[in-house]
Symmetry: C2
Subunit: 419 residues, 2 copies
């Protein structure tokens, strides 16, 4: 997995220096970062990005929902190859998720800009991008910036979304001075590199993951409606305990995952809030989010059907009403095979091991893959740990990833995936 | 249950007028009140109380933890009969819980003060009291003011307790100008009237409940320690999902209650908070409160043992660590039989039906009953609904309760429970 060919090159040194300075922004005592979308820490990371874009010869453009583009125009009027990821993070997250992809894109762009012969004009121009609010922790749903850019969500709808303190995306972006007027570049192709957030590369001792498809995902927001009562004096038969209903639902979701072979279905509840949340009051209402994912859309459809049946049973047995609303979904969607082949060839040419992998997590590239040919690359994550301060990828893997990404983007700019 | 003998007397009219003005303080759109301890609404209710105490001839004294006493000294130097309840409420609560008991005590005191022959000096003086923070929703634990007054909790410990915004009891009391310097009266006996918060009086068509004993209660604070991870990409076998552990615990607690005959064991979780509470993060930590109650201490002990076993199983199966800390407990404790007989005799003398009942909920009188002879009375609650805006007791029951309480307190002041 670890090939020590890059860590001592000047390019690698420069990349690692910049990535380390980024990792200090919003740093947590546990060795991670906390940079939720449009917070002060995110604003600082964005300032880091725009400062280095300027230094490396890019023109900065910000669009209406806070996507930041660094533009390098070799060929006036031609569309752009977009390469990037996101600088925002989950609360108490790792340093690598998203941030690595932006830093790697920045350095791929830097090398292509610097190494470029003045006479040569690639077919496409180059844009390095920080997609706004990929994580969706402060403002749901996730992948917001790329959803607006690809026309899946109206900008006005995104800007109106509020966090739990009642602050809207529009207000939060204005507060950090990142309400842009640009529309962003016209895309021709896209590339993104990310840590795997799974174990398959580490377990197979492989350096580069060639993402050939994403898992399907369905996310729901759920409200369990019960009735407020006294925890001591209300007889059990009279209770309509919203938290009991919600807890049964959390357990049911895990039972659904356990019905299938390992790795066939992932389910979870990440967010749950209780009203009125007093020690001596039976809760009247619980709001929660459900997340179901599978590489097999049939499994997902069957799981949803079982879930519906289970919810009816919970409603009857706990005497609550459970309201389920779909919030965000994507299907199993292959990345172009030609892009996977191209990326494999780039890895081979650098003497790096590679293998096809799924992405289980959502990425901005999933949105971009719906509109232009897109290449998605992974580097290994130690023990698959992610959304956790303990997230880790070694320097040589990070640098190898930048090398492959640089070569992929170079070929995309030459029109390698056209036609 | 409804005897229409009081609703039109001048005493009843005056009581209902004052109770209605109290009900408007912190009133909610749903017809209840929201007056958590030492909030602005609680401060207003306390101002209502001290204003009327002055009007009805009482001297006001506030102690170090915000208990408010209205003192009527017939017999200088003699101890006091304390009669009262609490003006604070749960969030989105009913108008009757606690507030009725304070208003009833105020009017029992008013009648005894007004109807008193100048030459007669009862054995004991009279104190009408609003116990601070009985509910424990903003500042846990509940029954705080009476716990300090009866020496079960140090005043300094109570004053240092903080709400979820980090505000201490001392700061909250100072903010409403109710940090008192008094020590409160020396008690000789105690009486409290409250809505039943259960169905037994309504179901048996009885007006007055004679509380002969309380249920035992044990309350715990629990932390479930898991590990933060990605909801999509982390394989199920690698997860240490703190919310799944917590949900299994909520379900287990209800299963424990269901093992016993109806009414033998009440269990619940009222408060639960998730960290980091993001839609795409497997929770690393959940804090929750557990509440177990029974009229049978052996049932409670057995349930706790089963709970411990169940927690070990959850720890193993979910791969989390569950930390349980006892926070507040009381045993089954009978009220003096002589007090029950006295209250029955008072109800009989007024032509009102009565029957012995348990209290399942905690009350300040449970603390007072540990230090002086104490009488606890109930009036009916429609459908047993409580800690809910829909809480309801009819006017004639409210007025009948004030009549019985007045007579009980009159006799307590004459020393009826001495020796």
């Amino acid at each position: 997995m670890t090939i020590e060919h890059t860590a001592t090159s000047p390019d690698a040194e420069l990349f690692l220096r910049d990535f380390r300075s980024l990792s200090q922004i919003g740093e947590t005592p546990g060795g991670g970062v906390d940079r939720q979308a449009a917070t002060v820490a995110d604003a600082q990371a964005r300032a880091w990005f725009t400062a280095l874009l300027g230094q490396y010869g890019f023109t900065v453009e910000v669009d209406a929902v806070g996507n930041v583009f660094g533009l390098l125009e070799w060929n006036p009027g031609a569309p752009y190859v977009l390469v990037g990821s996101h600088l925002d993070s989950q609360p108490l997250a790792g340093k690598f998720d998203g941030a690595y992809g932006v830093a790697a894109a920045l350095h791929a762009g830097r090398r292509l800009a610097a190494g470029h012969a003045p006479a040569h004009r690639p077919k496409y121009n180059l844009a390095v991008v920080d997609w706004f609010n990929e994580e969706g922790s402060r403002f749901a749903p996730s992948m917001m910036g790329s959803s607006v850019f690809t026309g899946k969500m109206a900008a006005a709808d995104a800007l109106a979304i509020r966090d739990t303190d009642g602050v809207s995306v529009a207000e939060a972006l204005a507060a950090i001075g990142h309400t842009g007027s640009g529309t962003g570049p016209v895309p021709a192709a896209c590339a993104e590199i990310h840590i795997e957030q799974g174990r398959s590369l580490e377990d197979s001792d492989t350096t580069i993951g060639l993402v050939h498809s994403c898992w399907a995902a369905e996310k729901f927001t759920v409200t369990v409606h019960g009735e407020q009562a006294h925890t001591g004096s209300t007889v059990i038969a009279d209770r309509r305990d919203a938290l009991l209903g919600a807890s049964r639902l959390v357990v049911l979701l895990r039972e659904l995952a356990d019905r299938y072979p390992a790795g066939a279905l992932h389910t979870s509840v990440g967010q749950l809030t209780v009203l009125p949340n007093s020690p001596v009051v039976v809760p009247r209402r619980v709001d929660l989010t459900m997340d179901l994912r599978s590489a097999d859309e049939d499994v997902l459809a069957e799981a949803k059907q079982l879930l519906e049946q289970g919810i009816k049973l919970i409603e009857d047995e706990v005497r609550v009403r459970i309201e389920v609303r779909g919030s965000h979904a994507w299907g199993v969607r292959p990345y172009p095979a030609a892009g996977v082949d191209l990326a494999r060839d780039c890895a081979d040419s650098l003497g790096l091991t590679s293998r096809p992998v799924y992405t289980l997590a959502g990425h901005d590239s999933i949105n971009m893959n719906d509109v232009v040919p897109t290449v998605m690359l992974f580097v290994p994550s130690r023990e698959g740990v992610s959304h956790n301060e303990g997230e880790f990828t070694g320097d040589s893997d990070l640098c190898a990833g930048v090398d492959v990404l640089t070569e992929v983007v170079r070929r995309l700019c030459e029109g390698a995936l056209d036609g």
